[in-house]
Amino acid sequence: MAAKEVHILVRDLTMAYGDFVVMRDLTFDINRADIFIVMGGSGCGKSTLMKILIGLKPPAKGKVLYGEVDFWGADAQTRDLIMRGAGVMYQRGALWSSMTLAENISLPLETYTDLTADRIREVVEWKLALVGLAGFEEFYPADLSGGMQKRAAIARAMALDPEILFFDEPSSGLDPVSARRLDDLILELNDSLGTTMVVVTHELASIFTIATNAVFLDSSKRTMTAIGNPKQLLAQTHDPTLRQFLTRGEKS
């Protein structure tokens, strides 16, 4: 049985906005092909953590290691290079509103590959078909529903066949059926491509459906209080905050 290869290491991470410390002493490993959930209550710093992992905000203290490379210790070019192997799906899609879906997905392809326009077109159609949006190539993001925008955003995040995908609250604002379809898509991609996935969310249904590992950020203690598979955490934890979170506030 092959040992699990570590993809991202986080060590003693502290996040702050000026003097205000959001979270401190975060230490966890994300393995290859994991579906790793970052969960916690609203405003606990989940999205900030993701911003630090994808290079948009430096940490106040601590290290982030991609493999053996110190992400924030390296220069901006090295970070750019690492991020080229990653795809990010933002909370509201963040599709470029002045470009069609096809142009949105083509941009990374045109920038980083030598493919001809025809080949790029083929890849774009393939990626959109993969997320169930075949035929919507010439639509602008504003013409699509929220769920469709999110799926298009996933297609764009996957454009360069990244090794790791980041999702920021993928099911927020989605109806239950769309949320379920999104979960299925995440599971399918992870299964067939072996992509590592880091999902920031607080949707319990999704967490229990897709997670292989998770870290819980406690907003009152301002640090992580649990790590592990959510189903196991639910069965074994004695922490009242975590229990309340995982049971949707059921009074025990």
Partner: protein, 377 residues
């Protein structure tokens, strides 16, 4: 009969106060406040308990609940027990719900009145900080431009074309109107004085030199600041709010090269032609006044203008226009990229862009004027 609620107080025993509520307790109707009850409960009243009688209560809504909440807060501070059994069931449950989560003590931000000195100090610090940010932005733009010259900048040609069209071609109508009118005004204002000396032919010189060297560039610059500078700030600001700029960054595409550079190049390219066109419109305006009002012959006006306006004036005017274009683009893009993450922030960014651009234009004019003076141009 207007809605009217009534409260009556009884004291069935030494340490108990019975509050009898009757009538229509409707929000917006005629309602008593909690004051008279509070007065009765004031120390030293010896009252340890409050009970309610609501059998004569015909109708209640939030009007009753705010009264009760008020009373409850007062009682808990005075350590007086409040017995809610006599209240209608719905009201009782709502009161319980409101008290389920204890008030977060430090959630309300403390309003601090800063002394004038502190405020002044803050403003000075902010000023130097934003000056630094401006320098950093200009520096980044210069680096991006050098990459452009080496042919290695990442941007879309289609975007550049669209911005050139929006900033250049579509600005022609307003630039025409403004500069025509300004030429008209200058001629009109000067004509009155010059006529006193019989020197009205020099209106041609006045309009020609003023417009070509200075006014066409400034007026066009100000128009572009309002029109295009604000638009750039709003576009980039909205992209910032939508995290579209973050998305570019995580894809390793420099927002400076992709978004800002085309805009600076577009305005730099379009301002000189626009200023040239503005020159003509201004002189045309002057000509209308000269021919129609001062009875100067058209050809005479033409020759006088041509003699007065030399190539140096034209060169300075076009150069100024070019510089103003760069300033407008920089101001618009910078404020857009610095935009906060809310809708009102986009509005602030647009406003700030226009103000910054106009201030920049005036400062640049002053600098160019001084330089020309020193160089004897």
């Amino acid at each position: 009969m207007t809605a009217r609620g009534e409260v009556r107080l009884e004291q069935p025993s030494g340490d108990t106060l019975k509050v009898v509520l009757s009538g229509q307790w409707k929000l917006g109707g005629n309602l008593p406040g909690a004051d008279q009850v509070r007065q009765k409960l004031q120390d030293p009243s010896g009252i340890r308990n409050v009970i309610f009688d609501t059998r004569q209560l015909a109708f209640w809504d939030t009007g009753l609940l705010t009264f009760l909440n008020n009373l409850r807060n007062f009682c808990s501070r005075q350590n007086i027990g409040l017995n809610t059994d006599g209240l209608p069931e719905g009201a009782r449950k709502l009161l319980e719900l409101a008290s389920a989560v204890p008030e977060t003590k430090d959630a309300r931000p403390v309003e601090q009145r800063e002394s004038f000195l502190v405020h002044l100090g803050d403003e000075v610090i902010n000023f130097f900080q934003s000056a630094g940010e401006m320098m950093a932005f200009i520096g980044d733009a210069a680096i991006a431009f050098s990459r452009l010259l080496r042919g290695r900048a990442q941007y879309r040609r289609a975007d550049l074309g669209l911005i050139i069209q929006a900033a250049g071609a579509q600005a022609v109508p307003i630039v025409s109107l403004i500069n025509f009118l300004v030429g008209l005004i200058i001629a009109f204002t000067g004509a009155i004085e010059l006529k006193l000396f019989g020197a009205q032919i020099y209106v041609a010189d006045l309009v020609g030199i003023a417009m070509v060297r200075l006014m066409a560039a400034i007026m066009t610059g100000v128009v572009m600041a309002g029109r295009t500078g604000g638009a750039f700030a709003a576009q980039l600001g909205t992209m910032q709010v939508n995290e579209e700029i973050d998305a570019l960054q995580t894809l390793g595409i420099s927002p400076m090269e992709f978004l800002v550079l085309p805009r600076i190049v577009a305005l730099g390219l379009m301002m000189p032609p626009l200023c040239l066109y503005a020159n003509f419109m201004g002189i045309l305006g002057g000509m209308v006044v000269a021919v129609l009002l001062l009875n100067i012959d058209f050809w005479q006006f033409y020759h006088q203008t041509a003699a007065a306006v030399g190539l140096w004036n034209l060169g300075i005017g076009l150069f100024s226009g070019f510089v103003f274009g760069i300033i407008v683009a920089l101001a618009g893009c910078m404020r857009g990229m610095q935009c906060g993450r809310s809708a009102s922030a986009v509005g602030d960014a647009a406003t700030s862009a226009v103000v910054t651009a106009i201030v920049g234009i005036i400062i640049a004019t002053a600098v160019i004027t001084v330089l020309c003076n020193l160089l004897n141009i």
